[in-house]
Every structure is written in structure tokens, then in C-alpha cells.
Amino acid sequence: MGTESNGTAEIDAASDNGAASQPPQSNLDRGMNKIWKAFTSLKMGLFLLSVIAAVCVYGTMHYAASSDWGDNAIPLAKARVFNAWWFFWLLGIFFLQFVISTWPVTKMSARIWWKRDFQRDPRFYRLPRGRASLKVPSGLEHIRAVLRQDFTRTHEDGNAFFAHKGLLQRIGPTVIHTGIVVILIAGLVRIVMERNGLILSEGRFFAQEGQTLSNIYAPRFMDQAVSATNLRELSVPFDIKVLDFDEVLHPNSNQPEYFSTLLQVRDKATGNVRVAKLDMNHSLRIGNLEYHQAGYFKIDDPGFYRVNFDVRDAVTGERIAVTDAGPGTRVQVGDEDLFLEVDGENPGDSWRLYSSATPLQPFAEGRLIATPRDATVTYHVHKFYPDFRVREAATNENDSGLEPFSASNVPKNPAVLISWNADGIPGEAWVFLDKQLAAAMPEHDETIQFVLEDIQIPADADFETLDWNEPGAARFVLSVTNRSTGETIERDILDIEEDGEADYTIVPQTQVDTGDAPYIVAAVERVPLYGTNLSVVREPVVPFYILGVAIIAIGATMTFMTRYRALHGLWEEETRTLHVAYVPRFGKEPDPADFQRLIRKLEDASNPPPETRASSTGDAETESAETERETAGVA
């Protein structure tokens, strides 16, 4: 974005006492020229950048970061500001201004290879920095060889020379500008495409474990957040089945450490099936859409659950991993190349193991073995009948046509109705104080049994007036027995409707012959069912952004890792003297050491060594002393 200056300007400035007369311009032309000059100036570029920054502040403060808009904030910011036509035109004007204002540099860069800048004015070689005059009695042949060897391009025209090197530095800024232009074009194109629905930026895929879908959702209105009322369905040419969702929490916390989704993707056209995993930091490409793990949800319904399966090596007994699965879904076992498929959760149900190499053919199969598993039961006394009886129901509310009732308020035949939830399965049980009656009742659950041991009431309680089902009126001594072990696992004294809880271990009675399967698989516990929430995008302009960034990186490397230097030379045949000027870009001072190196090379090339007169940047004393020493040494 700067102008080239190699010292000529200094001569011009010194010699030009008046500009060459130019044809007079009309006021309109002058005005237009001024406007054009202003538009293409750096100031205008910076002004436009300031406006863009101000718009960004507005878009953020008024929309994206404003609590006024709730979940709609960022979609609104995009719709109202960042994807709006007026922002498009603002960026477009900046793009034009940028291209035009950088055009002189671009033009210069394009012509740098062919640049010939011969300086024939002797005054140019008398300027203070980077200048030297060398006596070359033997002629210019060796000098030409040195120049060809040391510089990228060397030109000669009569008695004038021009050579330069480090050309990449001069091209670098143009390459950077090109990268910026590519990014700006991509940004502009993206706005147009998004406004016309050619970009999918807020797609969603919601499904629970075991579910198969061949559609995704996209917002109907782009200025609103994705919500149940702002969705439209889009079909995709794949059947996508959620085999497993995996959530790993930091132990003893509710904070997730890792979450991922295992998908089975079936191409509807070819029938090809593949299994792939994506997690919170790794996306998955399916067709022309990119799927990302955006979030997940837990289904809090005891009726919907998965089961944890413990997979062990049959020989060593060593655990490979514990993984959750549901009937018919294939899940990955830990990080191994093992995929488990089960038909059920009960001992004896079949399982199959696949590898990614054999997704259709199991390489091992067997039956679930029975292992102890931990469970929890919660319960409370729902209702108390002091003198339990059964009679014909007045209404047909239940199949038996009978209903329980209490014949009196005196505890002659006490019974309680217990509501419980054992290991996720709810139920109710009648429990009697009478041991014989209790023994005659059906089992409460396959895993636990309740026993009513006693009923406690205040010493001064009057049976006639006592409301047994009033909280605080009576306390029920309940015990819970683990049916698989016969142990009493909990003994509670509970008020009516007061919750009790017991943890226990279920030891299955069924034994399964594992045969010669190389693995042992057992159902361990029930776990909640999860749903996965994937964001789905299609961003066709992204490669152009990447291209732009790559170009900028290349341009930056060229600009900052190389150094442009030009050498101008003028040969005086009469005195056999070569005047040289060594000039870097932007009229900057040459590096003294670099300049000295060059002069030494040129001196060495002049055989016999010529007397030299040199003046260079900054340290003139050191330089002349060094040149003298050199000459003396050769003499």
C-alpha cells in the first residue's frame, strides 16, 4: 500500500523546480480526480474498516450480546446486521476500495521480474548512503559475473547496470492482498448464498439411542433460534441410526469430560453401510453435510432405558470395557475395535461382536451370563388398612371387581399398600402384619420383598378417633429383603408417604454356559437413555476461506522472510570507474554489513584490486577504515 522509492525521487525532488506544464483541467475533472484520489487512499480504507468495526459493535451490543432478544439474539444479529444487504454493500465497497487502492502495488509486483531501473544521473551516485565507486582496470567481465551470480535479475543498457534480488519480498504484499481479496469475495458470496438458502448453517439432527432417521431439521426463519416451532424437515439420502451416545462425566461431578455419538450410516442409493463416531471436537462428513456434536439430552423416563454390559476376556477374566446398549443396536466397546450387539438383557440372551473390518459378519457370539448387579429400590407406604377386608367394588375400576377396605379402625388385620420403584420398574405391593397372610401373598418383585414388622402408634392414641392415614399418626416398621440372597437389606421406620430407599445387589439365579466364546458378556445395570443433538452444516465457501488464509500465510512468509535489494551501476570508461548504488525498498537504508560484503565481492572481481572510495550508511568511519585495510592488505 506504499509507493516505491529507490532514490530517484530524491533526485527528482532536488532537480524538479517546476512540474512540466500539463493541459488545464476542468473543475469537474479536478473534482472527480479529488474524489477518486480520496476513495483510493489509505485513509478511506481505514475509514471503511472503522465503519465495519462500528457495525460489529452495533451488531453485538444491539443484538448478539443483548439479553433483550433471548435465544434469538445471534440469529437476529446475523439476519439484521451481518447477513443484511446493507452490510453486504458495505463489505462490497470496502472490497472495491481495497482492490483499487492496492492496485499500484499489485501492478508493480506483477512487473517486478521485468523491471529495469537504469540510473544515469551521476548525482544519484553521490547521495550519502549505500554508494560506492570502484576502479576496475581490468574491465567489467568479472563484475558482470558477480552480478549474475549474486542477483536474481541483471540488466545492462549501455554504460548503466541494474540488478536486483529478494524479489519475493516485493511480491509478498500483493500475495497477502490477494488472500484478503479471496476471503472478502468468499464472505460476500456467502452472504448472498445464505440469503438464498444455498447454505445450511443451523441444521439439526435430533435422535435418541437406537433411533434411525433419514432427515434433518433446519430453521424456518433465519432470524430466530432453532426451536420446536421454528423447524422444517429436510430429507437426506442416508439412513442414520444412533447406535450409541456416550457421556463420560468427571468422576464425582456432573461435569462431562467427554461425549460422543456412534452412528451407523446407510447410503440409500448404494446400500453401503458404515459405522462412524463423532465427538464434541471431531465432526463427521456424511454426503455433502458436516455433522457436529452440538449437545445431548437425557430421557428421564424409567420406561426408556439402556443396559450396561460388562465385556471381559473369557480366558483372563480381564474387563475390556463396560458399555451401554439396547436390543438390536450395535455399540463400540470402549476404544477397542469391537462392536457389541445384544438381543436382550437377561441371562441367556444372545450377543454378537463385530469389528470394523467385518461389519456384517460377527466374529464372535455367545450368550449373556448372569452376574450380580447393583440396584436401588425406593418405596413408601401409600395407604394403611387397620382391619383389611375385600368386598365387591361398587364400580368396575379393576378387573377383579373387588376393592379393599377397612372393616374397622381397630388394627385387627393391618395391611399397607406400598408403592415402590425397584431398579427403574415401578410397582405396588400389599403387605400384611399377619405372617401367614403375608406368606400367602404373591412375591412383590423378582428381586425384593417387603415385610411389615410392626406398627407404632402414640401410647395415648384412641383407635376410634385415630386417622391412620394422617401424617404423624402412625409409623410403619418395614424391612426389605433381597430375594436373591435372602438378606434383609434395609429396615426403616416410616411415616405414611415418607420415602425409604435401599441399595442392594441382585445375584441372578440363572447360570449360563458360556461355551467356547472368547469373551464373556454380562448385563450389569440399567442406565438412562440418551438422545444426541448434532448440528448439521453445509458451507461450500469454506475452502475459499482456507485458500485465502493459506495465500495470506504464503504472502506473509514472502514478505517477512526475504529482503529486497537493488543495485544500480554506472560505468565511466574514461576513468574506468564503476559507480554503484545499493538500495533496498522504500528508500530505506541498506544494511552496512550486507553492503560491505557486496563491495568486497566486486573489489575481488576487479583484478588487480582497484582503489575504492566507499560511503555507506551510518558508520562511515568504520567503513572507510575497513576499505583501506582491505586495499592495504592486497598491496
Binding site: 489509505l42 485513509k43 451490543m61 426463519f221 430466530q224 461425549f259 458451507e539
Partner: protein, 648 residues
């Protein structure tokens, strides 16, 4: 001559003022910094009220015995992280009291005492009442109360009722705000209203809001003024009751925590767990199996009992934990800690066999890291270095500068060691929360400034760097204890890009921080109309000061550029898009634009002086908004960079 003399006198007075100011500021920084951070992170309960303190159980001999028995070597699992018993105890005391210790006691003693002899604490006044209304309702006096003062207070239900009413107000207010927002959105977005919001004709014929919002808004549009009046009234009430609600919630939480402490004292990895969770010592296990052991002399050792107990029986570690639990209980019951050392040793012997139990090295280093307060030491050293550089600025004597540089290097090494230790203990580059972000940025700024100071040896770099580092670390040390503790990494941060993108951004912030200090020095000098703020000859000319601010921005800008680009790459892998106009992203872009304008205007257009310095400061203001403002300023809400719940 007279004029010159008076000028000299004036200058002399200024010099004296400068000396006084320098001394005063240094003293304040040196002594107030640790005090401020101590106050912020807690500090001990003051001994101001002897009658209150007399209610608190105290036993220095027991504390000493606990230390000697090696209780500090135990580990406790806390919120997904392995703490040592001392660090966990300190966190719990902080949670209970807002201070890091009670009555100068060792937190281990305090917490174990609350767990194992809760009755002694039931009347101990250690729970703070943080709102006068609570004391008023419950008829309590003083700031500190005991658990029984709360739970047995006849007015407890009154407190609960008032809290519930305030909470209901807050919920109603939240609903009201939500509703009002819907109405205002409908209005702002240009939804046409024909009496009600039923005709929607916004741009391109699409409704700008979903139908449910519009219908909600429609119901209330006719009474918008009434709605706004209600919002104003309720808003004032809710705002007024907020401190009360917060204080009451905190009080309830603290009372609940006392009851919950035994459950939270999770000291062993659960042998049956598949998710790596830890459990508290199984209390009943110890005596039950000891009974078995005594019945069968052959199975007298814990291991034998465990082996004989079958498939689902307790592991040796569980039994050792149960024994340890019993030993603690007996020690507190009998006030005799003599058996604790054996119980702890035995427990740790079994614990060492568990792969899930943190190693000795980890526990020792964690204790060292937590209790050596390295960031406070570093802040103090930076303060001393700043004072020494200040003296150099005044006296221009090289020994002051050398001393300042030396202290700065020592401070930097202390901070580097602290960060290295934190990296080792946490397993990730310490840039994952605000505390780590501030300390890392300070460290980057210190590194850059120190290198320049060592090369240039002008003192001013050391002064600027030391001041910036000290202020940043004081800020970090003043953060609540829970924000400074080691913590597990959030899932979305569990990525290599955290190390690359965030460190790159924070290093650039550090460089910009130093450049802003230079720009500020330039502007102060300019406003004061003096080349030197202290003494006669300046450490650096005005132009050089501004030039260095510019040079540092030249260094920081490419880092910021690359940092933003890498952030875009991470955003693509994590969120599925490179750029989403999230507030943090947009402000990073704004920062980048401001510095781009600054660099081009100075480099190509030659804008120097106060305009340039001011632009540099504006740039840093943008950095502060991007870095801290988006997270903390009230005008900013939401955004993906807040790392809210992963559940959508």
C-alpha cells in the same frame, strides 16, 4: 536567575512529592496486596469476638497430632478432582464460612471435627449471617450463628416463608421480563398490529417471531403500559430482595452442607464403579467385618476377611477406609488421636495399591502448590521490583535497576514454576478459566517485558512489566477460592486447540498489555508536559516511549491474527462453523480491526504522537472488552464462549 531558582524549587518540591508517592505506592502495594488478596480469598475469622470464638471447639494438641499422623497425605475426591485433605478441607471451610479457616485452626481439624463430632459444633457460632433481614426475622444477634441457632429457631419457618415469597417474586419477574421481551421484540421487529399481534407482515412476508411468541405478546399488547408498570414495581422489589435471597440460599446451603459433609468426604475409589467415582468410607463395614474376624481367628487380618467375604464382598481398601473412619470417630470421641497414625498408614498402604488413588508425588506437590501461595509471592516480588525500578527512575543509579531486574526475574521464575506445577497437576495448559487466563497473560507480558529489559537495560521496561504483572496477579489472587482451585477440564475444552488458540490469544493480550502501559506512560508524560515523571533525566524520551508501544503492537498483532484464525479452525471442529458472530468472536474481530487501523495509520500514514498512543490504548480497551468484558460486563449476555451447559 530568580526564575530559574523558583523553578528549581518547584521541581524540588515535585521531586519530594515523587519520592513520597513512590514510597507510599510501593508500601501500599507491598503490604496491601497480600492483605487484599487474603481478604478476598477469605483469611481467618477474626478474633474480634471472644465470646463467639469460645463456642468453637478448639484443640491445638489434636491439630498437632493430626498433622503428625499424616492426615494431610489423604486424598479426597471433590467435584471431579483429586484434592488432598488439607485443600479439600480449606474449600469446605470456605464454603461454610466464606473464610479459609476458623479461629486460626488447621482446616483438617475443623472439617474432621464437624464430621466426627457434629454435636460439638451444633452450638458453635461459625455460620455467617450475610443479610440483616435474616437476623431480624430470626431474632438473632451478631454476624455469626450456630447451626442450632438456625434449625431450632422458632422463626425458621418465617424465614423460609419470606424467602419463598421473595423467590416467587423473582420467578414472576423473570416470567414478566420474558413476556415483555416478547412484546418488545414483536414491536421492534415490526410485526404489524391491528389491535392485536395477529397480522404479521415483516420483511419478505415472513414472521419475525415464532407464532407462540407473537400470540403471547398479543395477549398483553393491549396492556403494555400496565405490564411495564408491573415490571418496574416488581423489578424494584426483586432487586431489593436479591441480596436477601442470595444470603438466605447461602445459609440454607451451609446448613445442608454440615449434614452432607460425611457423604462428601469421599476418600476411596469405589471398587464397583465403572465410572471412576469415589465413595465415602463405608461406616458400618469396619465393625461388621471385625466381628467376623474375631469370630474366626484364622481370618484376623483385613485381607483375609476380604478374601473370605466372596465375590461381592468389600475390598481391602474399603475395609481399611472403614477402619480409618472408625479410628477418626474414636479419636474424636475419646479425644485421643494416638491411634490415628497407624490407621492412616494402613489405609495409605492399601490405597497405594489402587491405580485410581493419586500418587504420593501428586499429593505432596498439590499440598505444596496450594499452601505455598506462589502467585501471592510472585505478586509481592513484582511489587518489590516495581518499587526498585521506581527508585532507579528517580536516582538513575544502576544498582537499583539491577536489583529490580533480579527481583523481577525471581518473581517470574516463581510464577513460571507455579504455572509449571499447575500444568503438571491439572494435565492441561493452565488457560482454561479466568484465573488461569489472567495469570497466563501476566506471565506472557512478564516474559516479553523481561526479555526487552534484559536487552535494552533501560529500567522502564522492567518498571512497566512489573507494574502490569503485579496488578494482574493481585486481580487473580482476589478471585474467590473456588475459581482459583484446580479443576477438571470442560468437555469442549478437551482439545489440543485449547493449548494453541487460547495461548496464542493470551500471549498477544500480554504483549498488548505492555504496549498499553507504554502508551499510557507517553500520554501521562504528554499531559504533564514533562519528559521525565521521576527525577531529572527520563529513562526514555517521549518519542521512544511511543515508538516502543508501536513496536510491541507490531509483535502482538500477528499473534492476535493467527490466534483468531486458529480459533476459527477450532470453532469449526467444535461447533460446526468457522465464524458465527458470537460476541467473543466479533469483539476479537473488532480488536483486530482497531489494531490494524493503528498499525497502518502509523506505519504508512506516519501518524505518531498522542493520536497514535491514544489509538494504542483504545486497542487495549478493545482487548479488555474481548477478554473480560464479554464474560463480565452486564451489557453482554450469553454466547458460546461462556461454556454453558452442554445440554441443548
Amino acid at each position: 536567575m530568580k526564575t530559574q531558582s523558583s523553578m528549581t524549587l518547584t521541581f524540588g518540591a515535585d521531586m519530594k512529592t515523587s519520592i513520597l508517592l513512590t514510597t507510599l505506592i510501593s508500601a501500599v502495594l507491598l503490604f496491601a496486596a497480600p492483605a487484599a488478596s487474603r481478604a478476598a480469598t477469605g483469611g481467618a475469622l477474626s478474633d474480634d469476638d471472644s465470646s463467639r470464638l469460645s463456642t468453637i471447639p478448639h484443640s491445638p494438641e489434636f491439630e498437632e497430632a493430626l498433622r503428625e499422623a499424616g492426615a494431610h497425605r489423604l486424598a479426597v475426591r471433590h467435584e471431579g478432582w483429586n484434592e488432598t485433605l488439607p485443600s479439600w478441607a480449606r474449600l469446605k471451610i470456605y464454603e461454610l464460612t466464606g473464610r479459609t479457616e476458623i479461629k486460626g485452626q488447621d482446616p483438617i481439624f475443623t472439617v474432621l471435627s464437624i464430621i466426627y463430632e457434629p454435636s460439638r459444633w451444633s452450638r458453635a457460632k461459625f455460620l455467617p449471617i450475610e443479610h440483616p433481614r435474616i437476623a431480624e426475622i430470626m431474632g438473632l444477634e451478631g454476624k455469626w450463628v450456630s447451626p442450632l441457632d438456625i434449625v431450632e429457631n422458632p422463626k425458621f419457618m418465617d424465614l423460609q416463608a419470606e424467602y419463598d415469597a421473595a423467590k416467587l417474586d423473582a420467578e414472576e419477574y423473570a416470567d414478566l421480563i420474558d413476556l415483555l421481551r416478547a412484546v418488545m421484540q414483536a414491536k421492534k421487529l415490526g410485526v404489524e398490529r391491528d389491535g392485536v399481534f395477529e397480522s404479521v407482515s415483516t420483511r419478505q412476508g415472513k414472521p419475525a417471531l415464532d407464532p407462540s411468541t407473537i400470540s403471547r405478546a398479543a395477549r398483553y399488547d393491549n396492556d403494555l403500559a400496565g405490564l411495564q408498570a408491573r415490571e418496574k414495581l416488581l423489578g424494584a422489589k426483586v432487586k431489593e430482595s436479591k441480596p436477601f435471597r442470595k444470603a438466605t440460599e447461602m445459609l440454607f446451603h451451609r446448613v445442608g452442607l454440615i449434614l452432607d459433609l460425611p457423604e462428601q468426604f469421599t476418600i476411596i475409589p469405589d471398587p464397583g464403579a465403572t465410572d471412576g467415582s469415589w465413595i465415602a468410607a463405608p461406616r458400618e463395614l469396619g465393625s461388621r467385618f471385625r466381628d467376623q474376624a474375631s469370630a474366626s481367628p484364622a481370618a484376623a487380618t483385613i485381607e483375609n476377611v476380604a478374601l473370605k467375604s466372596g465375590f461381592a464382598g468389600p475390598t481391602p481398601l474399603e475395609l481399611a477406609a472403614a477402619d480409618l473412619d472408625e479410628a477418626f470417630a474414636l479419636a474424636f470421641l475419646d479425644d485421643d488421636p494416638s491411634g490415628l497414625d497407624n490407621a492412616i498408614d494402613e489405609f495409605l498402604t492399601f490405597a497405594a495399591k489402587s491405580r485410581a488413588y493419586p500418587s504420593d508425588t501428586y499429593r505432596n506437590l498439590l499440598n505444596f502448590y496450594v499452601f505455598s501461595h506462589p502467585y501471592k509471592i510472585a505478586a509481592l516480588l513484582y511489587g518489590i521490583a516495581a518499587a526498585l525500578f521506581g527508585l532507579f527512575a528517580f536516582f538513575k543509579a544502576a544498582p537499583w535497576r539491577i536489583a529490580g531486574t533480579t527481583v523481577l526475574i525471581v518473581g517470574f521464575l516463581v510464577q513460571t514454576a507455579a504455572m509449571g506445577l499447575r500444568f503438571y497437576l491439572s494435565g492441561h495448559v493452565p488457560v482454561s478459566n479466568m484465573f488461569e487466563s489472567i495469570t497466563f497473560t501476566a506471565w506472557a507480558a512478564l516474559g516479553v517485558g523481561l526479555v526487552i529489559e534484559l536487552v535494552k537495560r533501560q529500567g522502564i521496561f522492567g518498571l512497566a512489566t512489573a507494574c502490569a504483572g503485579m496488578l494482574a496477579l493481585i486481580g487473580a489472587n482476589m478471585m474467590p477460592l473456588h475459581d482459583t482451585r484446580l479443576h477438571p477440564l470442560r468437555a469442549v475444552l478437551n482439545s489440543i486447540w485449547l493449548n494453541i488458540h487460547v495461548t496464542m490469544m493470551l500471549i498477544s493480550y500480554g504483549v498488548f498489555m505492555i504496549s498499553a502501559v507504554f502508551a499510557a506512560i507517553y500520554l501521562i508524560k504528554k499531559l504533564a508536559g514533562r519528559e521525565a515523571l521521576f527525577g531529572g533525566k527520563p529513562l526514555m524520551t517521549l518519542d521512544q516511549t511511543e515508538e516502543f508501544a508501536y513496536r510491541l503492537v507490531q509483535l502482538g498483532w500477528p499473534l492476535l491474527t493467527v490466534g483468531i484464525m486458529l480459533g476459527a479452525v477450532w470453532a469449526d471442529t467444535a461447533w460446526g462453523r468457522y465464524w458465527g458472530w458470537d460476541p467473543k468472536e466479533t469483539w476479537a474481530l473488532i480488536t483486530w480491526i482497531v489494531y490494524t487501523i493503528y498499525l497502518h495509520s502509523r506505519m504508512v500514514m506516519g501518524w505518531k504522537g498522542w493520536v497514535s498512543a491514544l489509538a494504542c490504548l483504545i486497542g487495549f480497551l478493545m482487548v479488555m472488552v474481548t477478554w473480560l468484558g464479554v464474560s463480565y460486563l452486564p451489557w453482554f449476555a450469553g454466547g458460546l464462549h461462556t461454556y454453558a451447559s452442554p445440554t441443548v
